[in-house]
């Protein structure tokens, strides 16, 4: 192997010149070595580095809490997906965006159905003929992109034999609105709005990762109080979404009282975010360098009382789920994913922890307020809908305790006047959003602007997990499996 990879901490910036350049064969040997040791390729994307198109690879090492960075020459290469399946989307993405083709990719097809970055024609969205099931008794059931509920667009093909689903082909890209392309050359006036709307239900998660990236590139300090305030908002976002998900899971097994109660509990937590920053989704709260809204002692008292009340009602409602045999019977052994598959697909977040993957950014790569207070990891190992539901409950409990333990008045701490970004530098920030790991990576050019900005939403890894969960199930299990993941279409499509 050539030079050693560059090691950096979560939320750190380093000059591009310090990152070693590998040939693809060298990268292959390095990636296989790290994968064997439990390392995870968290990002693999092409970016202009010193004006030349180069592949950037980030590998996260859970046991040491480090992120390793290497650059790779953008040449044609033998696909690594057969050995490291979790790379399948990164390789397809680089082919779609930049025409860097992985030879022998076993699952080669478009990702978001857009035009290549250097121009050309877009593939036709929704075409799912890349993988089909054939046979006299085989049939396909198509769903979407316009679904029966109030759901984002995506196309699903259930490839079945009789009642049994052999494979679920998921075709996305309908939400593609060109965010990464628009971020290049930034930060612009709209950059923060783009961050807040990468996945609207993860506004705080994505905006936190973005602020950490900008702060690292600009050498901008953030007060400890502001870091704690961000963490309070992040955990509030988790509480709201986990409460909502438990309600939706109850709805999909026909247990309507809990569906109604938890649907309202979700709103109680969203309304707490609205008290702090005027928006139920945390819009307008985050800003590089700090937080836009403070919390004084009088507000805090009211907030704490409302939080306690919301928690009491949520506990009261969700407790019904864990004691109802008909609910548990439906949750257990549905959509099971073994640990080996979870690890191979690189799954993240509650869905991975429900398969026994002991990984949580807040403990393994803590940044911000989590450095002083790393969280425990809520994990189960049955890998089924039950585990995905129960992990959410365990995490909600942790979030509440975290908020209550750090809650104290804080002050608004706006952006500093000048925020020039370091030129020819790379920064990466990981945040444990409520769906799982969010990774933002920025590469700056000589002008101190983003030459490339890469967003990896947790859904990027987990959609394939949902497809796997459906194998051997019936179509009627899909809504329940789908809700147990509750993945983001817009966070994937970007």
């Amino acid at each position: 192997m050539s030079a050693a990879p560059l090691k950096l901490a979560n939320g750190q910036a380093r000059p591009l010149a310090e990152i070693p350049l590998f040939s693809f064969e060298e990268f292959r040997a390095y990636a296989l070595d790290r994968a064997a040791g439990g390392g995870k390729v968290s990002a693999l994307f092409a970016a202009p580095v010193n004006g030349a198109k180069t592949i950037v690879a980030l590998v996260s090492l859970r046991l040491t809490g480090e992120i390793e960075a290497v650059l790779v020459k953008p040449e044609g290469y033998r696909s690594l997906t057969p050995e490291i399946p979790s790379l399948h989307l990164f390789e397809r993405e680089m082919a779609e965006e930049h025409g860097i083709i992985p030879e022998g990719h076993p699952w080669f097809k478009p990702v978001r159905y857009h035009k290549p970055f250097n121009g050309g024609e877009a593939p036709v969205v929704g075409v799912t003929e890349y993988f089909t099931l054939e046979g006299s008794q085989a049939h396909e059931v198509a769903v979407g992109p316009v679904h029966a509920g109030v759901i984002e667009p995506g196309h699903f093909r259930f490839q079945c034999h009789g009642e049994k689903v052999y494979h679920l082909e998921i075709s996305l890209g309908y939400q593609h609105r060109g965010i990464e392309r628009a971020l290049a050359g930034g930060p612009h006036g709209r950059t923060l709005s783009h961050m807040e709307t990468l996945a609207g239900d993860t506004t705080i998660g994505h905006a936190t990762a973005h602020c950490e990236v900008v702060e690292a590139l600009a050498g901008m300090g953030v007060s400890p109080d502001a870091l704690e305030a961000r963490a309070v908002m992040l955990e509030l976002e988790r509480l709201a979404n986990h409460a909502g998900d438990l309600g939706m899971l109850a709805q999909d097994v026909g247990y309507l009282p809990v569906a109604a109660f938890c649907g309202r509990s979700r709103g109680d937590f969203l309304n707490l975010s609205q008290v702090i920053c005027g928006s139920r989704f945390g819009r307008g709260f985050m800003v590089p360098g700090g937080v836009r809204y403070g919390m004084d002692a009088a507000m805090l008292e009211d907030f704490s009382a409302r939080l306690a009340r919301a928690w009491k009602d949520f506990t009261d409602a969700s407790a019904l789920l864990w004691t109802k045999p008909s609910v548990l019977a439906r949750f257990e052994n549905t959509g099971t994913i073994p640990f080996s598959v979870c690890r191979a697909l690189g799954m993240v977040g509650p869905a991975a922890r429900a398969c026994g993957e002991p990984r949580d950014v807040r403990r393994d790569f803590p940044s911000g307020a989590y450095r002083a207070r790393p969280m425990g990891v809520a994990s189960l190992d049955s890998g089924d809908v039950f585990a995905r539901a129960r992990v959410r409950w365990l995490e909600a409990e942790q979030s509440l305790r975290f908020i209550q333990s750090v809650l104290k008045p804080w002050e608004r701490s706006g952006p500093p006047d000048s925020a020039a970004l370091a030129p020819e530098t790379m920064a990466a920030a990981m945040v444990e959003g409520w769906r799982g790991e969010i990774l933002h990576t920025a590469v700056t050019g000589a002008d101190g602007r983003f030459a490339a900005y890469k967003v990896v939403d947790p859904s990027f890894f987990n959609w394939t997990g949902l497809a796997y969960a459906l194998r051997g199930q019936e179509i009627s299990d899909f809504p329940l499996c789908n809700k147990s993941f509750n993945l983001s279409y817009c966070g994937f499509d970007l």
Binding site: R112, Y113, H114, A122, V125, P145, V146, A148, G149, V150, I151, E152, P153, G173, Y174, Q175, H176, R177, G178, R181, A182, G189, R190, L192, S193, H194, E196, T197, L198, G200, D201, P257, A260, F261, G263, R264, R266, G267, L270, N271, Q274, V275, C277, G278, S279, R280, F281, R283, G284, R292, Y293, D313, D316, A317, A319, L320, T323, S488, Y489, C490
Partner: protein, 256 residues
């Protein structure tokens, strides 16, 4: 069953049913609803800080007067913060929807809110409005608030307003998102599958103007380019009460 009943009693009555006949529930102080422009404090000749701060060019100077286009506004705090003179503030008023695109432009003085559909449509939809929601790009924020509009607090179904599973069952489309190129065809097919007479509602900054993605070649700056819009509901995302208020004005349940 007893446990469910006991829980039901403890959870209590949660529906905000003072609305719409009484005032809507009080919004927190920091909520950013309808903007208020105070011309006495605005000095457009010397200052355009709000215009410069706006990420979507919603704030603009027109004939020496400040205007805020709610169809583009993300209701972020940038303009009000940049002002510093208190000339532009956001009130806690959730009423934002309008029937015409130009009526979304706020200036000094009151703005015209959405009015009821023509009588023949109101007779059809006034007490039963079934909508097919089409998510045509965007961030899922508007979809989340439309879902919340149907929860026990806002309970849109008590007014006969429901989201239905098929365009064949629908009286109109509730469109969110800027209409991405990849959703254009699906949106049009859903429209064609909806029986006439039918209406279109654009909910959220994206569906009205492209929102934060305005100008991106991957999308089409909103639904108006393809379909005639009967109701515009601003916001990023609009609050569930803002959506409900707009729908109830459109079907004539709220007047004035």
């Amino acid at each position: 069953m007893l446990r469910e009943l006991m829980t039901r009693i403890r959870q209590g009555h949660q529906t905000a049913d003072a609305f719409p006949d009484g005032p809507p529930p009080a919004m927190p102080e920091r909520f950013r609803g309808a903007p208020e422009i105070d011309p006495a404090r605005c000095k457009p000749a010397a200052c355009a800080r709000c215009v410069e701060a706006c990420p979507t060019q919603a704030a603009r100077m027109e004939g020496g007067e400040l205007k805020l286009d709610l169809g583009r506004c993300l209701f972020c705090p940038a303009c009000a913060e940049a002002c510093g003179e208190g000339a532009l503030t956001f009130t806690q008023d959730i009423r934002l929807a309008a029937s015409k695109r130009e009526e979304l432009v706020a200036g000094a003085g009151p703005r015209k809110l959405a009015t009821a559909l023509p009588e023949e449509l109101r007779a059809l939809f006034g007490r039963s409005l079934k909508l097919r929601q089409v998510s045509a790009g965007g961030c899922n924020g508007c979809e989340a608030e439309i879902t919340a509009m149907n929860n026990v607090v806002f309970d849109a179904s008590r007014f006969g307003v429901q989201v239905v599973a098929s365009p064949r069952h629908a009286d109109g489309l509730l469109v969110t998102g800027p209409v991405t190129e990849n959703m254009r065809r699906a949106l049009m097919k859903t429209w064609e599958a909806t029986p006439a007479p039918k209406i279109v509602i654009a909910a959220g900054a994206c569906a009205i103007s492209g929102g934060p993605y305005r100008g991106h070649p991957e999308q089409h700056d909103g639904v108006e380019k393809f379909l005639p819009v009967d109701l515009y509901i601003p916001g990023c995302p609009p609050h569930p009460l803002t959506i409900l208020d707009g729908l109830l004005r459109m079907i004539g349940r709220i007047k004035g």
